[in-house]
Symmetry: C2
Subunit: 497 residues, 2 copies
């Protein structure tokens, strides 16, 4: 095989692999949104079959040879080289799990997703426990095969965030615990802002119209990005002209869906902003979960919960919700920044959010090392919520069963949320050096913020590793102190500490 | 390969083929319902790739050999034999089109679908014409390869309705023309019923609630069947626990969506009622388009537009639409049976509907024989609407571009709609001999109607051919006079002829 043949082989394989990813992505979104309940079994069967074909293509010796040839050729352009690197790594990853075992695991997580959903509704931990045991078991075996010299959890962390490990995360979360615990306590001593005007009856029909306005405000092209409704909002991207976000409307509080739309809209803008030269390749997508979350949470919190953005929001909200006609931007800003320890991660305020993540990180670490048996996870979950957030977990629905991640095998995903918060705070510092952030935002013009992020983050897709993206954006290495400084300053101002 | 190995081979191939069909079905429904506009190109690429893999599996020599072995073994059970027969025939069908050409055609119809949608909106025939030319061209070549001894259109007709041909359809449509033309003219001389109470403002939110009630009335299990919204309503089934119907709400007239839901609900009941022993095989689905349409149009018209059903409907309608509180069942019945020549097939009344189909049949016949060039289709379309329905077509949007079928290559599909009407009228006659149809329907109990259809039609899936289904249901051969008799009797009563 010469170099041209190798590139041809990579192109052919990639075209096929992307078709399978696309089909499986749409099947999955369909299952989460509009499919009838009893469709789960048939979908699990189909996903298992398709994943088997995917396994065959990605582990094809000819593709592996082609990637090797490309990587050994110094004259290859950097996009092709990086594609070969990614596909070679993915191939190695699939290679260590036999096809039958992989197909069985795919069927398992499909089934586990349906079981988790039902178990959560009934607060029934015991129904979900055997699935989580099998999933943990598979992931420990997988990690041992992939790199027996590393701790199993480090193998998983590196998959979600290249270069990430417990050695890096332990001090990061320790620092968060140390700085945020007293800050949360201090805020708890202060009177809470008035939130009465975002409580009441906000018809879902009006909220749907408001979502359209929000997406327009964010500059999202609706011909490239659709919005749907699910219990748990998410973003899924098939390519830069086919992105889906979802939200969940709560009739009694319009800000819940509002921040879901802004959060998922941030993910969407990342996918929509990937460079055209990466289209139709495995580099068309985000660099890592941490970088992806940095974008969603940047729009949601750093922009979305700022006073200038509240000024821009207010006229749109007043148009849709009559009861808000006398509210001021400052009142809205205080209300959407109300901070207090709570049970549900996805509904947590910006201040306490990373503590939810820290708890999951510690639990995953202990599960993966074998120190914590799956059956003991709920007890440990409840203990940590009491210790770190001072609250009692009343049931598993609002406790250990609240998140879907473990059901789809996403162990190692959570830390990305906290890293994303910290990356975002560091990006803000750099952005404020480069451009006038808040003037245009206050006028409802997000184009310059988005252009900055597009230039430094979005356009690179997966061409750059997370650390390279961060360096491109902030001009230096990761500095988590930006994040704790940002929170300290923001909440001191709001709560008058 | 021995018989057991052959059956194993068929089972393996079928598992894979069904996974691809499932994925392509969901991609297609997604494209028609919630996908953003610009996703069309990526979806066409994915469909083309997946159809290539499908082609590989269905034309695999080992599968063809396995089918041959099964068909030669007298001891094989009839389900397995019929599966082998169906798959062998499908394989032969794919075999005559090389994989690359088939993939290109798949990409063409995907693109044609998007082009048609846009062209229809703009009434722009010239934008769609080149696509239809290519589609007609492909189908003529395909038919010549499949059976050069038959007319091209006969090959296509037989694909949709096994045993169907122009020799059978010509006298059928001639009879319809002869009997319905004077009936339509006579109705046109009579005063029209009052329809004011189904004209006005019927909020979509209320209509959505009404759809739920309708589906419950029809006995459709929502855990197996979801409802969505599209411009053109349709039914899609992945398996008997994963069926989707769609509707389109018109705020000014609730009966348009109502009859879409009942029509698509009829298709859905067919798919939901297939025998369990056919699950996970190619026999899980309808026998033909004609038999499928017989079920949808049976519920829509024969049941749905009957006086007893209007009695059952009225309380549900009154619950949702206050303006209907003083309407009587007879008034409703007369209103929903208002008949007059119109432009749009899908909105046509029961009396004139088959004339729309007849026109398409004649055009397809002439296109496929080469007698009518694609560029001359609009002129011929308009001429026939004037001749047979007496109306002028104001633009292509409401004329030749109104239906999607040609864009997806569905030439030969239309006659099934008229056959379905005629099959249904014949089934009614048999059903009335067997059970009390109208008493329970008037009380809102459709269970006996559905049980009869399930016993004679639904449970057989594709195990029986269309003529066998009809014989199972009515105890004899096709008799189209039932249909013209039914229409004559019904419309004479309504219009006092």
């Amino acid at each position: 095989m010469n170099l041209n043949e190798a590139i041809g082989r990579l192109n052919d394989a990639e075209r096929d692999l992307l078709a399978y990813s696309h089909a499986m992505g749409v099947l999955s979104v369909d299952g989460d949104t509009v499919a009838p309940k009893n469709s789960a079994e048939g979908r699990a069967q189909t996903m298992s079959v398709l994943s088997g074909f995917y396994h065959e293509i990605i582990t094809d010796p000819a593709l592996r040879e082609a990637c090797g040839i490309i990587l050994a050729a110094p004259e290859v352009d950097r996009v092709t080289r990086r594609r070969a690197e990614e596909r070679k790594e993915e191939s190695d990853d699939f290679f260590i799990t036999p096809k039958d075992e992989y197909m069985a695991y795919e069927a398992l997580v499909q089934e586990a997703g349906a079981v988790w959903h039902e178990a959560k509704g009934k607060s029934d931990w015991e129904a979900f426990r055997p699935y989580l045991e099998k999933i943990v078991d598979f992931n420990r075996r997988y990690a041992a095969r992939k790199d027996a010299s590393k701790a199993a959890y480090d193998v998983l962390l590196d998959n979600y965030e290249k270069g990430c490990s417990m050695a890096a995360l332990d001090p990061f979360f320790a620092d968060l615990r140390e700085k945020l615990t007293p800050l949360i306590a201090a805020v708890g001593q202060k009177p809470q802002p008035d939130t009465s005007f975002i409580t009441g009856r906000f018809p879902v029909e009006k909220q749907r119209i408001f979502s359209d306005k929000l997406m327009a405000l964010m500059g999202i092209n609706r011909d490239d990005c659709a919005i749907g409704e699910t219990e748990h909002p998410f973003t899924d991207s098939n390519n830069k002209h086919d992105v889906r976000i979802t939200t969940h409307y709560h009739e009694e509080d319009p800000t819940m869906s509002m921040y879901s739309v802004i959060h998922e809209g941030g993910h969407a803008l990342y996918e929509l902003g990937v460079g055209d030269e990466l289209q139709g390749t495995c580099l068309e997508g985000g660099s890592s979960t941490g970088i992806h979350e940095s974008q969603s949470r940047f729009y949601e919190n750093i922009i979305g919960r700022s006073l200038p953005f509240c000024e821009a929001l207010l006229p749109l909200m007043r148009d849709c919700f009559l009861q808000m006609r006398d509210v001021t931007a400052e009142q809205l800003w205080r209300a959407v920044n109300k901070a207090q320890p709570s049970l549900i991660r996805t509904e947590a305020d910006e201040l306490t959010y990373s503590m939810h993540v820290m708890i999951r990180y510690e639990l995953e670490k202990a599960m993966m090392s074998g120190e914590l048996a799956v059956q003991d996870v709920p007890g440990e979950w409840n203990r940590m919520y009491k210790t770190y957030l001072g609250i009692d977990v009343p049931d598993h629905r609002r406790g250990v069963l609240q998140d879907s991640h473990w059901s789809f095998g996403g162990i190692g995903y959570f830390p990305g949320y906290a890293l994303g918060n910290a990356y975002g705070a560091q990006m803000l510092r750099a952005m404020e050096r480069d451009i006038d952030v808040w003037g245009p935002v206050g006028r409802g013009d997000l184009s310059q913020v988005t252009a900055w992020l597009r230039e430094h983050v979005h356009r690179h897709g997966r061409l750059l590793l997370p650390a390279e993206i961060l360096r491109s954006a902030v001009g230096g290495p990761f500095d988590p102190s930006c994040y704790t400084d940002y929170l300290t300053k923001k909440y001191s101002e709001i709560y008058g500490l």
